[in-house]
């Protein structure tokens, strides 16, 4: 009796699965005589979409044998779906991804196709600088084609700085503290942070650590070879804590997102924010002019013995190992790497185009300054959530959010972070 039920249930399931499989196959057949389809799944949606439509259209015009179709999705939706698409053996041919630990993760899971030939045979390697190419290499092979480069720095309201009597942007930690004090004295919160989505707080860990312990130590920490209970980490948190204790932060960072925090700087309720160059996308909404109303300065030096380093993410495109049409996918990558698409794609986003041939005319004053700085800075670091594997970053991002509320507890928070990170590493 019971067995009968089970049998029926199983038959039912099988029947429906078959029905759907047949349905799906029939649909696939219909497309047989059309140009070969190349799918591109990416998170350059909304304000980030840049010139993706143009890029795709141009590729299709120049390559009539292929039909490149792209699906822009929201960041969050992208993160949830790409994993299962990859594992299900039915991935898009091309998809966007973040350089660093995230690409490393799927390279290690054997989900990506190496694209050394794109760089070597099609001359793409001539289009990118050495350091950018390093960001594209994993386990000795190229896997990643960078599309945008962003840079994290202090963006400040010039009027507020003038009112507070700060003649030049601070270059050392001491000058920075003085500047904060001056801004506080005119009744404005020196620093705005909007960490509701957690990640904006990470730069407050990245930079102090890079400026005190240096890029090499940080790389060890990100790789799980150093501990969050080390004195180096405690010192970085100590710097951050000092600023919070002195009341330099606008209240309730965890209540706002990065855009709201940027607006606080825009309206002059706060003096500055430590954020990526993508905040320039808010220019129209806030109604301020780069260079006129706001400017940026790099995170001040703390220890002159430590080499300078810049923080920022690279966004780009990778090819799935199970891509149905690798040849076409790689051709599309070559097309994307060229100057024209790079210009179209990066204009108005605040980003730098990784292609070295793009003209300076596409940049505003601030971007020009950023470009000049990036050309000379000796070290480039990915921000925390891209530098360490996602499960570990999850632990750390929570720790930053908690620290913002309870800076006095930072030793306990660090101890808990270490044990959480250890657990996450052991599960990898």
């Amino acid at each position: 009796m019971k067995q009968k039920h089970r049998m029926l249930l199983i038959t039912a399931v099988l029947l429906l699965v078959t029905a759907f499989a047949v349905f799906g196959a029939a649909e696939g057949d219909q497309k047989a005589d059309q140009p070969e389809k190349v799918t591109f799944f990416h998170y350059f949606s909304g304000t980030l979409s840049g010139g993706m439509d143009d890029l795709v259209d141009t590729f299709n015009e120049n390559n009539p044998d292929y039909l490149l179709t792209h699906t822009p999705v929201d960041h969050e939706a992208f993160k949830t779906s790409i994993l299962v698409m990859l594992s299900g053996g039915n991935p898009p041919d091309l998809f966007s991804y973040w350089a660093g630990a995230r690409v490393q993760f799927i390279v290690d899971a054997d989900r990506l196709e190496p694209i050394d030939d794109v760089y070597e045979e099609y001359g793409v390697s001539e289009l990118f600088s050495e350091s950018v190419q390093n960001a594209a290499s994993y386990n000795g092979h190229k896997y990643f084609l960078p599309l945008t480069q962003h840079f994290v720095a202090f963006f400040y309201n010039k009027e507020v700085f003038d009112k507070a009597g700060i003649a030049a942007p601070p270059e050392t930690w001491g000058e920075f503290l003085t500047a904060c004090e001056k801004i506080k004295n005119i009744g404005v919160a020196p620093i705005a942070l909007g960490s509701r989505e957690r990640w904006p707080a990470q730069f407050w860990f990245d930079y102090p650590l890079l400026r005190t312990a240096g890029p090499e130590y940080r790389a060890e920490l990100m790789a799980g070879e150093a501990s969050y209970t080390d004195p180096e980490v405690a010192e970085a948190f100590g710097m951050w804590k000092e600023l919070i204790d002195k009341g330099y932060f606008y209240p309730n960072p965890n209540a706002y997102d990065y855009a709201e925090a940027t607006v606080l700087v825009g309206t002059g309720e706060a003096g500055m924010t430590l954020m990526g160059s993508w905040l320039m996308q808010l220019d129209d909404q806030i109604g301020w002019e780069p260079g006129e109303d706001y400017d940026f300065f790099t995170f001040p030096a703390v220890d002159s013995g430590v080499a300078d380093a810049a923080v920022g993410p690279f966004d780009g495109v990778v090819v799935a190992k199970d891509a149905r049409n690798k040849e076409a996918a790689k051709k599309a990558l070559v097309a994307m790497a060229q100057t024209e698409p790079m210009i179209a794609f990066n204009t108005g986003t605040g980003a730098l185009a990784p292609n070295i041939n793009v003209p300076d005319s596409m940049y505003n004053v601030l971007q020009m300054k950023i470009k000049e700085y990036c050309a000379v800075v000796p070290n480039w670091a990915f921000n925390y959530d891209l530098a360490t594997p996602p499960p570990v970053a999850d632990v750390g991002l929570d720790a930053f959010a908690e620290f913002v509320d309870n800076p006095a507890d930072y030793m306990r928070i660090l101890a808990e972070t270490e044990s959480g990170a250890r657990a996450a590493w052991s599960n990898l």
């Binding site: 699965v17 594992s87 209240p251 309730n252 996602p390 499960p391 908690e402």
Partner: protein, 290 residues
């Protein structure tokens, strides 16, 4: 025999859909919970009950369970009792009862996405309604961030959810009240019982069925909620509003731990199963008595 065949004719397609959408994926979840699948690799190992052992030693899981328990308890207190009180008051023929009922029902038509958004208008620290009121009557400097402080984030979400859930409780109690026997109330009144006595001794016992339904639905709804938490805090700040559903989502889709996420889902199922079991048992018992 002939009857049976006809019955299957009617049941075949619905069962197919049910099997594909619920039964088959459910079995797969149970299976995945015994593996270490990361969601990306094609290969994964069968690791027995290791995920479950991990679940029960995970402080984040314990936190999520604890938050779910708080949610259930507040949900059993606030919207349920409020729904009962409103049902009793409005059942008595307060002038404008129809209008007042509509006001209480109204939140039920909003999605959680919209509820999350409009409660943000209340909780926002700088210009939110709640802080504006507090500034008006008390501390003019008040700028508490209700959804961003670990002490209040969960409570603020539960309160918003209660706002929506009260209407359902009231409907269910109103339906129960319509079945209350007026002759018993009259008899008690003639015996000299006061309003309170009548309510607790005569009316409430007759609402037992409604109460069983309200309590079960309330428990299940508080365990099921994902949308509202996801939209308001995503379980933050630093997991202070994490519940089982958001934990499952986080571990599976953010942290590349599908096996572990499936184990969390399975535990959620077991808890829900226990509640549903008791619900059906008590409902069935009523059935047999009739």
């Amino acid at each position: 025999m002939i009857q049976k065949n006809t019955a299957w004719q009617f049941l075949l397609v619905p069962l197919l859909v049910y099997g594909v959408v619920i039964v088959y994926p459910f079995v797969q979840t149970l299976y995945l919970s015994l593996t270490n699948w990361d969601g990306v690799s094609q290969a994964y190992d069968f690791i027995g009950l290791r995920n479950y052992r991990g679940v029960f030693t995970d402080p984040n899981f314990r936190g999520a369970i604890y938050h779910n328990i708080i949610w259930v308890m507040i949900f059993l207190l606030v919207p349920t009792v409020l729904g009962l009180i409103l049902a009793v008051l409005l059942d008595r023929g307060v002038p404008g009862a129809v209008f007042f009922k509509s006001v209480i029902y109204l939140p039920m038509i909003f999605s959680y996405v919209i509820i999350g958004m409009i409660w943000n208008f209340i909780y926002e620290p700088r210009i939110g309604i709640l802080n504006m009121v507090i500034r008006l009557f008390g501390n003019p400097e008040w700028n508490y961030a209700w959804l961003a402080q670990k002490e209040t984030a969960l409570l603020a979400i539960i309160f918003a959810a209660s706002w929506q859930h009260t209407g359902l409780c009231m409907i269910l109690y109103l339906a129960g009240l319509s079945g209350v026997r007026q002759d018993l109330i009259e008899a008690a009144r003639i015996d000299g019982a006061g309003g309170r006595q009548i309510f607790f001794r005569v009316v409430l016992p007759q609402l037992k069925n409604s109460t069983v339904v309200v309590v079960s639905l309330t428990i299940i709804n508080s365990l099921k909620n994902f949308d509202l938490v996801y939209i308001t805090t995503k379980g933050g700040p630093y997991r202070s509003s994490e519940v089982l559903t958001t934990l499952m989502y986080r571990e599976s889709f953010w942290n590349y731990r599908m096996g572990y996420g499936s184990a969390v889902a399975s535990v959620l199922f077991i808890i829900v199963f226990i509640v549903v079991y008791f619900y059906f048992r008590s409902v069935m018992r009523e059935d047999h008595r009739e």
